[in-house]
Symmetry: D2
């Protein structure tokens, strides 16, 4: 297996859901960047399970930066972030060792690892591993915001509840506002309806999916490559690393299929000196390269596969079909917890493309 991101930034992710320590090494950051540890904490808190809508597993998500930062500033050497897994209850997982949970990675991991996988809590494939990624993303987000590039999201949809759209004339303020929310929805009424839907799913021992819209505001034009490393390639590649993401689109996305070109082409115009497009159906990207308009990304999150209801599965030892009732602790919905993970991945992708064009020292 390989859990390494190898671009201008390099990220090596390690650990298992129930290993004592997990973490990530981030390589390629410029020396002399002041690290805002509070901001990392704030981002980690958003990912944490801290409310009645989430799992009962409560990890502190304390992190320790053990290298690459000296006197509060990056030195340019690899930055390693370590986190401990403390609230670990492996007892519940013995029964899934040979009875893979439907729609989970269990069966795939058994095949892939020839049966040597650490099955406890999903092992390396657990959502827990997104915690160090959020810490890495928080550093990238800081560097981008130093360059006045901002990333924000709202939960666009949970089941059949759909949020309002971002105010296209007011992206900056709405992004900043959404960044402060642990359950970011523009319309407060819709937010309540979403929460009710999740509670309903929970009370039914069920789970529910949703969609997140993420915007990168003020990203310079000219980032990305025509082939293989298009902005969409780079962003989607990272987003599809997040467990439960099953679709990624840009701008009008899948809706493009039902339009004529004349309806969705984005006309160019001069807004003073600045080149803009009247509409932004392409989500800030043409031919794989940013055009200076906000980058608009849609990500769909499938319903958490861990549900309390009895399900059909197999017993790999007995080689027979069996029933499974998952005990453990799990989330009825992970959309809100995924928001900061999505933003972290987007931050990594955008910073990486930024460095590719502007050079490593431009980060400072």
């Amino acid at each position: 297996m390989a859990s390494v991101y190898l671009k201008n930034l390099k990220i090596s992710l390690f650990g298992e859901s129930h290993s004592q320590i997990m973490g990530a090494t981030l390589d390629g950051i410029c020396p002399g960047i002041k690290i805002d540890f509070d901001k990392i904490n704030k981002e980690l808190n958003k990912r944490k399970a801290c409310d009645t809508l989430s799992t009962d597993r409560h990890e502190m998500d304390d992190y320790k930066i053990v290298s690459g930062v000296f006197n509060g500033y990056t030195t340019g050497t690899p930055i390693t972030i370590l986190m401990e897994n403390r609230d670990v209850d492996s007892s519940k997982y013995e029964n899934i060792k040979n009875t893979p949970r439907p729609s989970h990675a269990d069966y795939c991991n058994i095949v892939k690892s020839l049966g040597y996988n650490d099955y406890r809590g999903g092992g390396h494939s657990s959502g827990r591993l997104t915690a160090p990624l959020v810490a890495v993303g928080a550093i990238c987000k800081q560097i981008l915001s130093n360059k006045n590039i901002y990333i924000g999201s709202h939960i666009k949809k949970i089941h059949d509840v759909i949020d309002d759209e971002f105010d296209k004339n007011n992206y900056y303020e709405e992004i900043i506002k959404m960044n402060d929310e642990s359950f970011p929805v523009l319309n407060q009424e819709k937010k309540q309806m979403m929460i009710e839907t999740i509670k309903l799913a929970k009370s039914n021992f069920d789970s529910v999916g949703g969609e997140i819209e993420t915007v990168v505001y003020n990203c310079p034009s000219g980032l990305g490559e025509p082939f293989f490393d298009s902005v969409e390639s780079e962003v989607s590649s990272l987003l599809f690393s997040i467990p439960a993401v099953k679709g990624v689109s840009f701008g009008k996305g899948f809706a493009f299929s039902r339009f004529f070109g004349s309806e969705v082409n984005d006309s160019l115009y001069y807004d003073g000196e600045k080149v803009k497009t009247k509409t932004n159906n392409n989500g800030g990207i043409n031919g794989g390269i940013t055009n200076g308009m906000p980058i608009v990304i849609n990500t769909v999150i499938k319903p958490t596969p861990s549900i309390g209801k009895e399900q059909d599965t197999i017993d790999l030892l007995k080689k027979e079909n069996v029933k499974l009732k998952i005990e453990g602790r799990h989330d009825p919905c992970i959309c809100h917890r995924s928001v900061v993970v999505i933003e972290s991945m987007v931050a990594i992708a955008i910073l990486n493309l930024y460095i590719s064009r502007e050079g490593r020292l431009s980060m400072k």
Copy 2:
């Protein structure tokens, strides 16, 4: 700029729409593979503009393999495919040099290249560059089919016309059948309606978008990585390299957002010795790793941005807003021509993951 795919397979793509020669180098193929040149031709023909639904630019798409193949077999050294651009009419492009076409890569390329781009016909960002990629993909597809792994697609949707679904009990035959079509649609009536829609768009000097569904049949389980190199990451990353692709999803894709977990979880069961899932909402992938079920990929193609209607844009020299009427030659719809490009990209991604697990010599 970088147009290099750097995994177990390495692909270096080069050329411009109006350069004399364009091509690709494919590195990492095992020695001793017999190349079926007719199959490469057949795939290239599907991409070619050869009917009234497509551009009037008629390239032969003749290709020459100048290295890495000796006496009809691969030698293991880099395989370079060269193609000539003969039917080149650069005269029509002088006027777009400084008036970027809406929703095209023109403006982005000017910014990215600091104004040194070859603007003729879209330069390196042209859809022409997908021709060598199809030749590369055809080689990968051959190797996969030697391993009984098959890739096929149908046009799922053009505007508001929606094709039937694949017969899930009969994938193999339907894939083989679709592979023979240059406009692959399962339902013949729907096919006619799609063609009518495209003709309508053409007569209106307009264009239209659509959606392609692609299936990888008989792919072994255990391919892909939990983070960064998930099957979805690898496939989407390549698909988003294709000009006009704005969304990629797997299995139920964006529809996941409106379901409860109990409705969409894929139960496991034994079909004799073989492990299968009753439904395939996850499109053959869990936790980034193949589970042995068919891989199901959805790709949305935006309407071709080149339309004959007058549009608003800017003049970069005069620094003012202007009107533009695109002359040149262009397609009212590229969905059918994109099918083989999508399949090529999928073939590259799957072969790459196959080698990653099974080793280079396993190709033989």
Copy 3:
């Protein structure tokens, strides 16, 4: 900065000489490999400063594998090795903060890190960082020895004392024997003379250099690539990562310059079924690819730059030339401690090439 090795195996190295924790993440190892922790300890002990010939800094070099190993077997997920730095005395390094030590990386690191480097003990550039690399190498060496590929070395030269040559008819036994030595020299008399030379250097507050010869025995033919990833490229690239290595050669190495082709060409012959060469002047590699003969590598280690004698250097704050007397703790010779580091790097390179040809699962 980047401290990442990105081939079929991926290694991410992190930490500083005086950071609390340092370590490495090794990615790409097959699941199901039994880890022999004693062998890792044995290798680490060889690198450790444990005699009167070495520094007075005494680290335990205890390591902890925190991920990727479950019930004693690799799972296929990233393997992270952590080590603590306990015997840290940073006080001695305040005076070198602005007065870089001659022939050390100090000045280069200040420039590279824009002055933000962790200067204590050489920071990330310290020889301490080779400890986690030895742990990584020990795992690779185990996997290779499971395949009957063995790596061994002797100290060929210290100052003007030259060891005997390996018995070419008895490589296996001599390699195994050298593997047990912390100061591996074939001729015991020469070994004593080398030790005397080092003691002399120490008593003079000086240091001394030397040369190591390393042999990979029983490596299969066909590994390596003709360009860019030749065996020599891969091995030298890793060896030149070791601080103090200033030259690498293969087979007859630099001596080739004074011979005619007829004197040094290696004739081929059949030894039963097996193809061998009568001589092995090319050190087991032709055209970048292994030929099945023992791989013979020579590495020169410069004298440790840290010496007790007064030296000339600069004061970067006062911007003037000054005298420097290095206090701290340092080694009069690092040749013997380097042996296991060199072998670790060679093991990584060879295992990587082995996987490249034979596939990941071949490791098992």
Copy 4:
């Protein structure tokens, strides 16, 4: 096989000694660089066999840049250089198909390619393939010289004839002078003696080896990485891709083994504002990072393995030991032709490290 260099610059090399076309694709060059085609020709001429000291195969080494350059300037898209092989005489190679030439890559290639290799003229492993690398290197050298970074070499040694040393106070002039020579030696008398030695080898149907010293003058400090991507790693990795290179060292190189630290440490001092070292035994590199002093590289070239004398080898079909007399055309010495190949590889490595630190757009 992989013939791809994958750093900030990406190079994909393709072709065979007797294929109709060979070439290379260079990716990662900044847009807006003016290409000096004459300089490329001049470099190619130095590599060409054009005198009585070299092979009788006479290739024009005409090249065609088919992409990535528009109106004489780079566009930022991949630059592909094509060359034709015209003076091809494959008849002489039928007899080596199954009787591998001693010390050549023949046997290794047969093993590696499972017998599917293009054996004519050495196939992909031929020295012919260095021609496109020289064209790539010439572009890199141009960009470096625009930055006042200069690369030059002299033949330090052929057999027992040793050239004078570079005048350390006059590097720039001597480098420029050596750049104009096709047989660059500082001392004219020594040059004549070297030529006599080569003629002697030729008349004896033999060949001879030598050593090249290369200097990078005015390279900025701070390039290179502490581990894995040290300057020495990057340079050696590329130099060991050149057929016949068997050793690479930096500064005092292998001579370091016979010195005490106090004799070879490079003291730092201020030369006005500029930091320099009094001696340059480390060849401009400390801890893998440039220190601003000239980078000094030594490369040993083994005697050409193709000699006219009868040699022992094997017949792989008959499985027996046989005698071989190589006909074909070959060089009694390739040291002088290698100089520009070495410099090309060094130019690629240094430009790559320069971009890594300064950013892609800094090339302009």
